[in-house]
């Protein structure tokens, strides 16, 4: 139905004339949404969900990657094979035919009929100077879908369908409540009988009582029209109510993709596990194990190497991508505060190269002892491979790292975590 390959979206962050940094909002996402399915995309604020949604409806052009629309399994597997082989001609040909960013003129109008989006904030997504009838009519006129009387008649039908009634047609948005406005936005998104609709947090700006109404409306519309939907939200409850499949995003990458029940009931990726553990349970006395993550989401300009989640991961181990800087930070914390007594003033610690740390005026045995003791608390220390005593200093070598990909598990889900690398090999 709709397939995204290797989507990257980098935004320029200008600091000065010379340095030009890139904010990596979406960093290499592959996504396939099947026909008639609701795909839930969850993740915390700033994880790139909305950016990805806007790319999928063609509001933003990705820095890299392509989105193919109206394609079947056959075409996507052809595209995947071509990507693997590096077959430029095949890629070009498929992209020319199916890419949403290569459609021009009349084809673009037809594409616009087939996809639309509902935004988060119903207060700013409707033009305050237009009547409801003109707002809902706009997509039909702009894409030459319907004109004049026919379009107006369809607006009235649509308003009835979203539960507003014909009397709303002549009103202005400021006369409507938040829930009513969101219904208008939904009517507008459905005006041209689209096949694919992106719902960008459609309920997060609404009261709880209205949220359920809107979700039920969306569910009803989906069943009646066999819509394909991408539901972007940070609310796990909304996803578990609405979605068929779920993708979990963290810092611009997909962490886990799978069927709703698999992902929500039996999460595999450590991030998903902690995310699900944070969902409140409607059982007052139940004791649940919450995993509270340390630290905060990574800086999107300087992403951690290896697995982007490793600095916060409770299950991180030596290959997850620890850098010497992270280890130096933790070691110097130990040396200068907790074990200050045993080291004293004169110890100095620094990074030599990507894999080597040097500590001057210290003993190798003492350091190994401390590392062994603190490994369980400070995960970065697990990445220390070898501690050797040289003449004047102690040299520490660290492990190589592996960047995880989405590993496919037996039950069909995909997880981007090294813990599951072996499972894929077995499968």
């Amino acid at each position: 139905m709709i397939a995204a390959f290797g989507i990257r979206k980098y935004f320029n962050v200008k600091q000065s004339m010379l340095s030009n940094l890139m904010l990596k909002a979406v960093d290499g996402v592959d996504l396939k949404i099947r026909k008639g399915e609701i795909f839930g995309l969850v993740g915390e604020s700033g994880s790139g969900k909305t950016t990805l949604g806007r790319i999928l409806v063609g509001l933003l052009e990705p820095t890299e990657g392509d989105v193919l629309f109206d394609v079947d399994e056959d075409v996507t597997s052809r595209y995947e094979n071509a990507l693997l082989k590096g077959d430029k001609e095949e890629l070009e040909a498929l992209s020319k035919k199916y890419s949403i960013f290569k459609k021009r003129g009349n084809n673009r109008k037809i594409l616009r009929r087939k996809m639309n989006i509902v935004f988060q904030d119903p207060y700013s997504s409707l033009d305050p100077r237009m009547r409801i009838i003109d707002i809902v009519k706009e997509p039909m006129i702009a894409t030459d879908y319907l004109k004049g009387e026919a379009a107006e008649k369809r607006v009235l039908d649509l308003l009835e369908e979203v539960g507003l009634g014909k009397s709303f047609a002549q009103r202005y948005p400021h006369e409507l409540s938040g829930g009513q406005r969101q219904r208008v936005a939904i009517a507008r998104a459905l005006a041209t009988e689209p096949e694919f609709v992106v719902l960008d947090e459609p309920t997060s700006a609404l009261d709880v009582s209205v949220q359920a109404q809107i979700l039920n409306l969306l569910k009803k519309l989906k069943q009646e029209r066999e819509l394909t939907m991408l539901l972007i939200t940070h609310n796990i409850a909304v996803v578990s109510y609405m979605a068929d499949r779920v993708g979990v995003m963290y810092a611009g990458k997909l962490m886990e993709v799978g069927d709703k029940i698999q992902v929500l009931k039996n999460p595999k990726h450590p991030y998903t596990v902690s995310l699900i553990s944070a969902v409140p349970q409607p059982k007052p006395r139940s004791i649940r194990q919450r995993i509270v993550l340390k630290g905060e989401p990574p800086n999107l300009i300087f992403l951690p190497r290896g697995c982007i989640f490793h600095p916060r991961c409770p299950f991180a181990f030596e290959e997850c991508g620890w850098s010497t800087d992270e280890i130096v930070d933790d070691l110097s914390y130990l040396i200068s505060s907790k074990y200050y007594e045993s080291f004293g003033e004169s110890v100095s610690i620094r990074t030599k190269d990507e894999n080597t740390i040097i500590i001057e005026n210290a003993k190798a045995e003492l350091i190994s002892e401390i590392v062994e003791k603190e490994k369980a608390n400070l995960k970065s220390l697990t990445a220390i491979k070898k501690i050797t005593q040289e003449v004047n200093y102690v040299e520490i070598k660290i492990h190589d790292f592996i960047t995880p990909e989405l590993y496919k598990l037996d039950d069909g889900r995909k997880v981007a975590c090294l813990l599951f690398r072996a499972e894929e090999k077995n499968a």
């Binding site: 806007r54 409806v57 063609g58 509001l59 673009r108 109008k109 616009r112 009929r113 996809m115 639309n116 989006i117 935004f119 988060q120 904030d121 700013s124 997504s125 409707l126 033009d127 305050p128 100077r129 237009m130 706009e138 997509p139 702009a142 894409t143 014909k166 009397s167 002549q170 009103r171 006369e175 936005a185 507008r188 005006a191 041209t192």
Partner: protein, 296 residues
Amino acid sequence: MEKRMEAKEIEGLRLSLVIFFSNKTAVVGLMIFMAYVIDALLMQFAPSMLGVNNPNALAFDYSNTIPQPPSPEHILGTTYFGVDLLQAIMQAIRIDLGYSGLIVISGALIGALFGIISAYAGGWFDEILMRITDIFFGIPYLVLALGVGFALGRTIESMIIALIIVWWPLYERYTRSLTLSIKEQTFIEAAKASGVSDLKIMIKHIFPNTLPPVLVQISLDLGVVMAIFATLTFIGFLPTGNLPELGYLTSLGLNYIQIAPWATIFPGLAITIFALAVNLMGDGLRDVIDPRRRSS
């Protein structure tokens, strides 16, 4: 159903009027402004009702050219060349109001056109247009108007063109800043997602949303432009010696300012009162269109 809609709209309009009329000074401003407009309209369509034969020319009385004080015969007195001041001011209001309206509205239209396009397009186009307006802002407007006016020749048309050239950058800046904030709103993105072309977004979404604040700005600027227009004619920038124009009328009485102060005061007052009135009215209008002020 239709009737209920109409009732609702009337309700909205009534609310706007209530807000406007609750501001007493704005009502005074509106009344003065209306008096000027009615005078101008009468001069245009029925000058004989006001006892004027030719609204485009001053009626000189060469039998007594020395300014006379106010009397039952000449309520505001006369000025040099024996011109009846009341009649002359009433003639002049038509000219001043008409031309300042023309200047402000054309300036606003040109400014809005470029402002919306430059803010919407952005990039180098925006940059170039902004630098051009910087040039206009860098030169004192009176000097610029004089320069352009003299370059084009000493006619009313050249004066109007000169003032439009001086005035449009102001509106360019203003609509540009409005557009910059409007184009970031989600309804513009929603229109794009619905396949609306950029041109249509500018015409149907951005322009109507910039309109109310621009209209307020127009009402505030009418007084300023009238004052500038009068300044230009005061320093002698006019094609004919018998044009009824407030600045020119003021300059006629200038030589007699010590013995006949009314000859300069009354035409000058006509400009000042108008500028004050449109300012008061504009403040009231701003309250009507600004929802944040509305609630308070």
